[in-house]
Symmetry: C2
């Protein structure tokens, strides 16, 4: 699907809501978009397929979203919130070491990829590859999501280092950036080889060699 609205659709927009329409349908469209865009890019995802899945008639899309771009932005935002919640849950788990919490996130993500046959990766990685070069609004939004993830991991690493859990002396934000770039690459390769091996390989070397886990 092209991120720009198709010609002739602008005039159909927001003439009124179809019967039964509401925030719930909008939320279902965003959720379906998150699932589809975690598997594929925007370009390979047909809007028709998405609307069919949610059971929304083709003509109604623009009652819920001003444009395909607005829809894309809402999906990225939804994914960012979902992912921030996931990180918060893992990183806030009492009774675990700090690095144990990061490992728990990794294990959970691995289970998630395995459950979906290594077809689903990372929405931010997918759209970053697709739009990083030519869609400035998406690019800035996606870069902001990565920055948020890096800050969260950097915070955790500060605490882990203070607790003596690893010995690397580098700036924790640099270590966190390294973690996320390596993770994104490993998720991509896990999709290509349909196996968790790239994820294991990356995290083992990250913990043992880069952080020098105590």
């Amino acid at each position: 699907m092209d991120p720009k609205p198709a010609e002739g659709t602008a005039k159909k927009r927001r003439r009124g809501r179809p019967p039964g329409a509401g925030e719930q349908t909008r939320a279902r469209l965003i959720r379906a978009g998150m699932e589809l865009l975690t598997e594929r890019g925007f370009g390979s995802t047909g809007l028709d397929e998405l609307l069919r899945e949610v059971g929304v008639p083709k003509g109604s899309f623009y009652y819920y979203f001003q444009s395909k771009d607005a829809f894309g932005a809402a999906v990225i935002d939804g994914y960012a919130r979902y992912f921030a919640d996931k990180l918060e849950r893992h990183f806030g788990a009492a009774g675990e070491t700090w690095l144990g919490r990061l490992q728990a996130f990794v294990d959970d993500a691995k289970r998630g990829m395995r459950r979906h046959g290594f077809r689903r990766g990372c929405l931010v990685g997918n759209l970053g590859q697709e739009f990083g070069s030519h869609h400035d609004a998406f690019r800035a939004q996606l870069a902001g999501v990565f920055d948020d993830w890096s800050r969260r991991v950097a915070d955790l690493l500060e605490k882990a280092r203070a607790a003596g859990e690893f010995t690397a002396s580098e700036d924790c934000l640099a270590l966190a950036d390294f973690f996320w770039t390596g993770w994104e690459g490993a998720v991509l390769r896990a999709k290509l080889v349909r196996s968790a091996e790239p994820l294991d390989r990356f995290t083992t070397l990250f913990f043992d060699r880069v952080l020098r886990r105590a």
Copy 2:
């Protein structure tokens, strides 16, 4: 552009070559595809745009390629060969240490990204994100390209270790896989932040912490 041929195009195929058509035009289409797909995914690349760029009339595409899939496969193959040549050139550079040769590849890639305003990344990364989940032929082809790159870096690392250039004791293929996954993630992030910093951050930690450069 959708990787499946549009309906009604099959019957137009290979009725004969248009005047002046030949291997040269086919090669130009592949080269233009490499450029476009290094910036974006298949889905965001209009076939029309590509044909316009090469100056090939719209109806002639199927004289050169049996299908859009065949075109995609030829573009991946072209990129794989271009990249293998680049690695061979750097890794075979006499008068350099082995790790110096890997560093020279990194520096060259950085210059290339900077020259294109950090808009162009890696075709294999782009298409891997887009098709890893739902296009088995592309997926296998792209996984094979990554395997080839890993073997080349693993060979270089064997020689570097034998020459005492680093002290990490891990299997060189595991180290090479780690290099490429981290590199792909760093290229993605460099596109998002339009800066070489993610590339520098990744390679510094890779050389110093993962390999423990002597």
